[in-house]
């Protein structure tokens, strides 16, 4: 796809801001409805610029290709092909494969075809929870097992839709890291709206300091309000949670994490979970799968021997 076209496709302007700091460069841009940044530990302006455009172009490319809102996207075309088979490329096939694995591992609770449930669930902080009738009406349109795909094509039953939102950002983080490593051996951190990864430690083996933001809607004076600072030397951190997206009715809080099998929000899930993994895709999926365990989220992660931080 042509970059110039991409720029006109998007409402927000695709600009990079490069800022020299004592330790190197900070590159900021917006993508996937999130503030994004790339940190690179170098004094070389040209190199910083090269890494910056490589990473941001890749993130925007992935956004354009897999956003379900963008009418030129592969995702939009899959979702609007009226039950007909459609050709897909290698990258799309690999992403679908990853989604398939996650579906299997979660026993069907995580499902990239569940995005359609957002037609009846609006997590805007109100008490406007969906009715059983509404959920029952859309639930037949959810179910990854109804999708058939091969190496070069996919067929989606009419009315169903895929949403790469649960994996796209993490994928873009990992792609950004791989591209940076191809350009330079210097330390780079890629942060897309809080999901992030590093190429390795900073110079002299020093760790990167990463803040895990506190959830906004917590009780005052509770420990949950505190920002946690993590020293990261290798790997990735991803956060899954409902800090801003939830419903409250009759004192019960409904998280935006939906069980794809029932169409209803997961009960008693932590407000957010941050996990550590070698790559951002794993970190993100571990956090999501943990949230889907509800009450047992922490136990699930402990059993998997995952380093995590949970807020309830």
């Amino acid at each position: 796809m042509n970059k110039a076209i991409n720029k006109t496709n998007n409402n927000s302007k695709r600009t990079l801001s490069l800022q020299a700091q004592e330790q190197g460069y900070v590159i900021s841009f917006n993508a996937m409805a999130s503030p994004c940044e790339v940190l690179i530990q170098t004094k070389d302006h040209r190199l910083a610029k090269q890494v910056a455009s490589a990473v941001s172009d890749e993130v925007w490319r992935i956004e354009d290709k897999f956003s379900r809102y963008n009418k030129d996207s592969v995702c939009y075309q899959i979702n609007n092909n009226a039950g007909q088979s459609m050709a897909i490329d290698e990258e799309c096939y690999l992403l679908l494969n990853f989604a398939e694995q996650c579906y299997q591992l979660s026993e069907g609770v995580f499902d990239i075809s569940a995005g359609i449930l957002n037609q009846v669930w609006h997590f805007d902080g109100s008490d406007n929870i969906a009715t059983k009738k509404q959920v029952a009406a859309v639930l037949p349109l959810v179910g990854w097992h109804k999708v058939s795909y091969q190496h070069n094509s996919i067929t989606l039953p009419q009315g169903m839709a895929l949403d790469f939102g649960g994996i796209g950002k993490e994928y873009a983080v990992d792609r950004g890291i791989l591209l940076s490593q191809q350009i330079t051996a210097l330390p780079v951190l890629v942060n897309l709206g809080g999901d992030l990864a590093v190429t390795g430690p900073r110079l002299n083996g020093l760790p990167w300091q990463v803040a895990i933001e506190s959830t906004e809607y917590t009780k005052p004076n509770s420990d949950n309000n505190k920002e946690i600072i993590v020293a990261l030397t290798h790997g990735a951190l991803a956060t899954s949670g409902d800090s801003k997206r939830f419903l409250v009715k009759d004192g019960q809080r409904y998280s935006h994490v939906l069980n794809a099998l029932t169409g209803w929000p997961i009960e008693q899930a932590p407000r957010s979970i941050t996990t550590l993994a070698p790559q951002c895709l794993q970190a993100g999926m571990l956090a999501t799968l943990a949230l889907l365990q509800g009450k047992g989220a922490e136990q699930f992660l402990s059993e998997q021997e995952v380093t995590y931080w949970a807020r309830r």
């Binding site: 694995q101 591992l105 002299n204 420990d223 020293a231 030397t233 790997g235 993994a277 402990s302 949970a310």
Partner: protein
């Protein structure tokens, strides 16, 4: 993509999920499943460690201690640690006099009043009471690649004691950080102003009517000063070696030089007649210099498959000094993680310690009239303090700890300590034959620790 496939997959879900995700991500990214292990640890504005420790000797000293330690890590791995310790001691402490078949009367260290030790009991001075406030600050930072430096200050205050100290340490990592050499020094300057002042070595303890008009004058004649000083300098060389993924070893050598007032102003020595009956009590006298050296070796081994995934820590220390004290310390803990539940990780840690010490060359459990009258000169050092006599000691303990969901840690420790002094070849007069000249000291130690962010 049927549900039966799903079920098959999920039979191994608990153990294989992380691996399965790694493989899936590796396939998508073209990196394969083998990638660098992720590593991150939590940092905060301030991390606090707090502990409450209770130490109680049977019929003797009881100590309660509160420790609050705060750590802050700065952007470039500089670490500031500030630690406050407050402890309070109460109870009775052996005054050095030997047990007798009859009651014994002693004058309190202040010279104000007397106390009586019952027949057959080890004489204990029950006026032992003190509160100590201790403040330590330490700054550690990387200097250059592979070099880490640390400096610190120390202040400790009791009502009759002031200690000021500084320390410094330099560590050099090499061989891909698998080896570390460290060099450290510390220097302490202490001022001791004991209640009742510094007694004159070999002077007889004044015992009698403390209401008599000449009492204060007579008591003052047994004193030489109101206070004295002590200087301690330590040098330490250490070597740490990572043997492999499971094993790490450490070796230390330390040299310590203490100069100044090393005598205990509250300790006396019984002067016996040939039969073993106390005729007099004289104030002890120790050299004004002590050179101590020690070697220390420690190994930690992580049994990652067998033995409950536990970590064995074993150490040995040999200490020797020019007072002819030498000691062996064997110390071992086994850290055993327990099955984690509800996101809480817990562990059990048994502890065993064995200590053996020989007596100082000038240690005497008591002395005799003839020996004192023969030469009470400056060169004749003497002390009946059981802490520098021959002994063995054993500690047995168990610690249980768990981490809470929010990353805070809690632990509780219970230990039993038993100190068994022995006779280092001193003749025992007939009157002492049926008495316990070398009493066993027993203590329990209870500690609660809580670390929070």
């Amino acid at each position: 993509m049927s549900y039966s496939d799903t079920k098959q997959h999920n039979q191994h879900k608990k153990t294989n999920l992380k691996t399965a995700l790694s493989m899936a991500a590796g396939a998508l990214l073209g990196t394969g499943a083998i990638v660098h292990e992720a590593k991150a640890e939590i940092l905060t504005d301030w991390q606090f460690d707090s502990a409450f420790l209770y130490y109680s000797e049977a019929e003797r000293v009881t100590a309660a201690e509160i420790i609050v330690s705060a750590n802050k890590t700065f952007a470039n791995d500089e670490v500031l640690n500030v630690k406050l310790t407050i402890d309070s001691l109460t109870g009775a402490s052996a005054n050095g006099a030997v047990v007798q078949a009859q009651a014994q009367t002693f004058t309190r260290p202040s010279g104000e009043g007397q106390y009586v030790s019952q027949a057959g009991n080890t004489p204990l001075d029950d006026t032992f009471k003190d509160t100590r406030v201790q403040l330590n600050a330490q700054w550690t930072q990387p200097l250059a690649e592979n070099y880490t430096a640390s400096i610190g200050g120390h202040l400790s205050k009791e009502f009759d004691y002031l200690s000021l100290g500084i320390n410094g340490n330099l560590a050099l990592d090499f061989y891909k950080k698998n080896s570390t050499i460290s060099l450290g020094f510390s220097h302490f300057q202490d001022r001791y102003t004991p209640i009742g002042g510094i007694p004159k070595p070999y002077a007889s303890m004044l015992i009698g009517d403390s209401n008599s008009p000449s009492w204060h004058e007579d008591f003052a004649a047994t004193r030489i000063a109101s206070g004295d000083n002590k200087i301690t300098s330590d040098v330490l060389v250490g070597f740490t070696q990572v043997i492999n993924r499971r094993m790490i070893t450490q070796f230390n050598y330390s040299y310590s030089m203490v100069r100044g007032y090393l005598t205990d102003p509250f300790k006396i020595v019984s002067v016996l007649n040939q039969a073993g009956t106390a005729q007099d009590y004289i104030y002890e006298h120790r050299p004004d210099e002590r050179k101590k050296q020690s070697v220390f070796a420690q190994t930690k081994y992580h049994f990652d498959q067998g033995l409950l995934n536990s970590v064995l820590d074993f150490s040995y220390r040999y200490m020797w000094d020019d007072w002819q004290i030498n000691s062996h310390t064997l110390d071992s803990t086994l850290h055993m993680p327990l099955a984690s539940r509800f996101g809480k990780a817990s562990y059990l840690q048994p502890h065993i310690r064995y200590y053996q010490q020989s007596a100082a060359g000038f240690y005497r459990p008591y002395t005799f009239v003839e020996q004192v009258s023969n030469g009470s000169s400056e060169e004749n050092f003497i002390s009946a303090d059981y802490r520098i006599g021959a002994m063995t000691a054993v500690t047995l303990g168990l610690k249980y700890g768990f981490s809470l969901n929010n990353g805070n840690d809690f632990s509780v420790r219970l230990e039993y300590y038993r100190q068994m002094p022995s006779n280092a070849g001193f003749d025992q007069p007939s009157e002492l034959a049926n008495l316990t000249v070398y009493p066993v000291v027993q203590a329990v130690i209870f500690q609660l620790s809580y670390s929070f962010l």
